[in-house]
C-alpha cells in the first residue's frame, strides 16, 4: 500500500514535470506502474489546466502532386480527429495543434519541412502515404527521436525494415490486403487466375506477388501474368491490346488487376473492350468511383479496401467520420483511405496516454503493444517487428452496373510476409 502511495506521488511529480516542460519531456525511467499512474493523473482537469503549450502535430504530407488524392483526405480526417480529441480534453491534458505544410509530393521538400516542423517542436510527424516519397522525411524524424506516422502506407517497409523504429503506418498492408483478394476470389471464382500486373510502383508489384503466392498456396493455378506500366503521370505507357489477348486466350476464372487509376482504369476498360468478361478482383488502389466514368456500366469488378464510402458500411465509426468529412470539406470521400488519418490521431492519443509522455521512443514502445485496438480503421495491431497492419479486416466491395456496394469485412487467413 505504501509502495502504491509512493508510486502515486512519484507519478504526480512526473506528470507535473511533464506539464512544465510543455508536454515534451521524457520519462524513460518510469516503470509500468508509474506510467499507468501518470495516465490517470494527467487525465485530471487539475493538470490539464496547467498545460501551457499545445502538442504540435506536424504534417509534411502532400497537398498537391500525385500523392495528394491519398494524402489530403487522410489529413482532413486527422484534422477532424484532432478537433474531437481537443474537445474531449486533449492529450495528456494538452491541446493538439496541427501545423500542415504542403510537401508537394517532393521527397526533398518533405525532408526540409520535417526538419522545420521538428525545430518548431512537433512531437508527431505525419508523412505522405508512400514510402518512396516519405523516406527522407521519416528519417529526419527518426534521427530527431520524433514519432513519425504515414497514415496510409500499405507496405511493410514502413517501420523497422527500413530502420524506422519510430515509423508507423495506420494503413493495411499488402501482405494482408492481397491475401484477402486471393482468399476471397479463390472461394468465389477459383481455381484459374490471370494476373494483370502493373509494374509501375512497388505497391502493385507486391500486390500481385502476394496474390500469386497465396493463390498457389490455396491450390490455384496462375494461367497468365502479363505486365504493363503507367507513366509517372498515371496513364498507360503503351497499349495493352497484346496483354488483354494473352489473358483472354488463357481463359481464367478471375483476373487479379494489380493497379491504380488512371492506368488501372484504362486497363480495366481494355479488358472489357477486348472481350474479357471474367470477374476482376483488385485492391485499395482501385477504390473510389472517380475513375468509373472510364468504364461505364462496369460489372463483376471486386476490390478489397479499408471501408465503404458509398453509404453502406456497417461500421458506425466509419459512417460518423464520413459525415464529419462532408461537413468539413463539403465533399463526399473519394476513397476510404481517409479512415487512416483519423486513426492516426486516435493511435497517437492512446499511445501518449499509455506512455505518459510524447517522447518518440516511448510512444513507439506503447504503439508496439497495440493488439487489436479498436480504431476507426478497424482493429489495429503492431509489434516490434511490424509497424503496419496485415491482419486487420478489410472491406470487400463490388461494382455491378456501375454501382458500388459493400459485401463483407474479411481478414486475411494467412497474410504473406516475406
Amino acid at each position: 500500500m505504501k509502495n502504491r502511495k509512493a508510486a502515486g506521488i512519484l507519478a504526480v511529480a512526473a506528470s507535473l514535470s511533464l506539464v512544465l516542460a510543455g508536454c515534451a519531456s521524457t520519462s524513460d525511467t518510469a516503470d509500468e506502474a508509474t506510467t499507468e499512474a501518470v495516465v490517470e493523473e494527467t487525465a485530471s482537469e487539475e493538470v490539464a489546466a496547467e498545460c501551457t503549450e499545445p502538442i504540435i502535430v506536424g504534417s509534411a504530407m502532400a497537398q498537391t502532386g500525385f500523392m495528394s488524392p491519398f494524402d489530403v483526405p487522410a489529413l482532413d480526417t486527422a484534422r477532424i480527429a484532432i478537433d474531437k480529441t481537443n474537445a474531449a480534453g486533449g492529450v495528456l491534458g494538452c491541446q493538439l495543434e496541427l501545423i500542415a505544410v504542403d510537401s508537394e509530393t517532393n521527397p526533398d521538400k518533405a525532408a526540409q519541412i520535417a526538419t522545420d516542423l521538428i525545430s518548431q517542436g512537433a512531437q508527431l510527424l505525419l508523412v505522405t502515404c508512400d514510402y518512396d516519397v516519405n523516406a527522407k522525411a521519416s528519417q529526419v524524424a527518426q534521427d530527431a527521436g520524433v514519432l513519425v506516422i504515414a497514415p496510409c502506407v500499405g507496405d511493410t517497409i514502413m517501420g523497422p525494415d527500413a530502420g524506422l523504429t519510430l515509423g508507423f503506418s495506420l494503413g493495411s498492408a499488402v501482405p494482408g490486403e492481397a491475401a484477402i483478394m486471393a482468399e476471397w476470389a479463390f472461394a468465389e471464382f477459383g481455381p484459374k487466375a490471370a494476373l494483370f500486373k502493373d509494374m509501375s510502383i512497388k505497391y502493385t508489384q507486391n500486390q500481385c506477388k502476394v496474390f500469386e503466392e497465396r493463390w498457389t498456396q490455396l491450390g490455384g493455378e496462375i494461367v497468365s501474368a502479363p505486365e504493363f506500366s503507367q507513366t509517372p503521370e498515371g496513364s498507360l505507357a503503351a497499349p495493352v491490346t497484346a496483354q488483354v489477348k494473352e489473358i483472354k486466350d488463357s481463359n481464367p476464372d478471375v483476373v487479379a488487376l494489380c493497379s491504380y487509376p488512371g492506368g488501372g482504369a484504362e486497363a480495366a476498360a481494355a479488358l472489357r473492350a477486348g472481350g474479357v468478361e471474367t470477374p476482376i478482383v483488385s485492391g485499395f488502389g482501385m477504390d473510389g468511383a472517380f475513375w468509373l466514368g472510364a468504364v461505364p456500366d462496369l460489372s463483376d469488378f471486386y476490390f478489397v479496401t479499408y471501408a465503404s464510402v458509398f453509404g453502406d458500411d456497417p461500421n458506425p465509426k466509419v459512417s460518423e467520420l464520413l459525415a464529419s468529412y462532408k461537413d468539413l470539406t463539403g465533399n463526399d470521400a473519394a476513397t476510404s483511405g481517409l479512415v487512416t488519418g483519423a486513426s492516426t490521431i486516435e493511435a497517437f492519443t492512446l499511445a501518449a496516454e499509455k506512455a505518459g509522455n510524447t517522447n518518440g521512443v516511448d510512444l513507439a514502445a506503447a504503439l508496439e503493444t497495440f493488439n487489436n485496438v479498436d480504431l476507426t480503421a478497424g482493429p489495429t495491431s503492431f509489434s516490434p517487428e511490424l509497424h503496419v497492419n496485415v491482419t486487420r479486416p478489410m472491406a470487400v466491395m463490388q461494382i455491378q452496373d456501375g454501382k458500388h456496394s459493400f459485401i463483407e469485412y474479411r481478414a486475411a487467413e494467412q497474410p504473406i510476409l516475406n
Binding site: F66, E227, F228, S235, L236, P239, G262, A265, G288, G293
Partner: protein
Amino acid sequence: MIQTILDALSYGGIYGLAALGIGLVFGVMRLVNFAHGELIAIGAYLLIVTIDLGLPLSILIAVTGTAILALLMEFGVFKRLRLAGPAVLLIASFGVSVFLQRFYEIIFGALPLSGQIAPWMAGVIEFGDTTITRGSVVTIILALVLLSAMWFFIEKTTLGLQIRAASSDFQTARLLGVRSNRVIGAAFVFSGVLAAAVAFVLVTQRGSVDPLFGVNITILALVGTVIGGLGSLQGAALGGFAVGATISLLNSFLGNYRVYTYTWLFILVIIVLLVRPGGLISNKAVKERV
C-alpha cells in the same frame, strides 16, 4: 499481328499530331513549348465537362477553348518575350506549364475526372480469328485526315507558305513582308487545334483526365520533333510518328520485358541522333543558327 501494326500506326498518329503541334510553334519562334501538354489537358477537360451537350458541340467547345488558351499563352507571355533568347523562352514555357497544372488542380481537383466521350470507339471488330480494336482504326483515320489537312494548309495556302518561310528563316521572311505576329498567332492557334485533336483521342482511350494529362506525350513528342529534325514540320510529324510507333511495337515485341520499353526507345533515339545529328529531316537554317 494486324492489331500490333494498327496499334503502332494509331500510336504513331497521335504522337505525330502532338509533335506537329509543337513543331509549328518551334518553327516560327524557336520556342520549345513545354506548355503544349497543358493545351492537350484543357482540351480533354473541356471534352469531359461538356460531353453532356453532345459530342459535336463538345468537340467544338474543346477545339475553340484550346485554341483560345494557345493564343492567351502567346499574347500573355511569349509575345512579351520576343527579344528573349531560346533559353528564356524555354524556362517561360516551363513556368506556364507548371502554372496551368496547378490552375487545373485548383479548378478541377487533383483526382482524375472520368467520363466516356465516344463509347462507340470502344470494343473490337472481328475478322475470323483476327480482332482489332475500333479505337485504333478511328485514331488512324483521324490522324490521317488531320495530317492531310495540315499538309494542305502548310503547302497550299498563303498563310501556310508564310509559316513555312518563317520556319525556314524568320528574319528573311519578315524582310520579305511576312507579318510576324500574324504568323506566330496562327501557329499557336493551329498548335491548339492539334492539341485538341490529341486530347480527343487520348481522353477517349483513357476515359479520364487529370492535371498532368498532357505531360508524358508532350515530352515524347518533343523527342519526336528532335529526331525528326528541329524546325522541319514534316520532320516533326515523322519524328513524332516514329516515337509513337516504336513505343507501341516495343511494347508488343518485348513481351514481359516491356517494362524496358522506354529504355530501348531512348537507346534508339541516341543511335538515330548519332547517325543523323540534325534529325531525320534537318532544317539548314536551324543547324546554322545552332
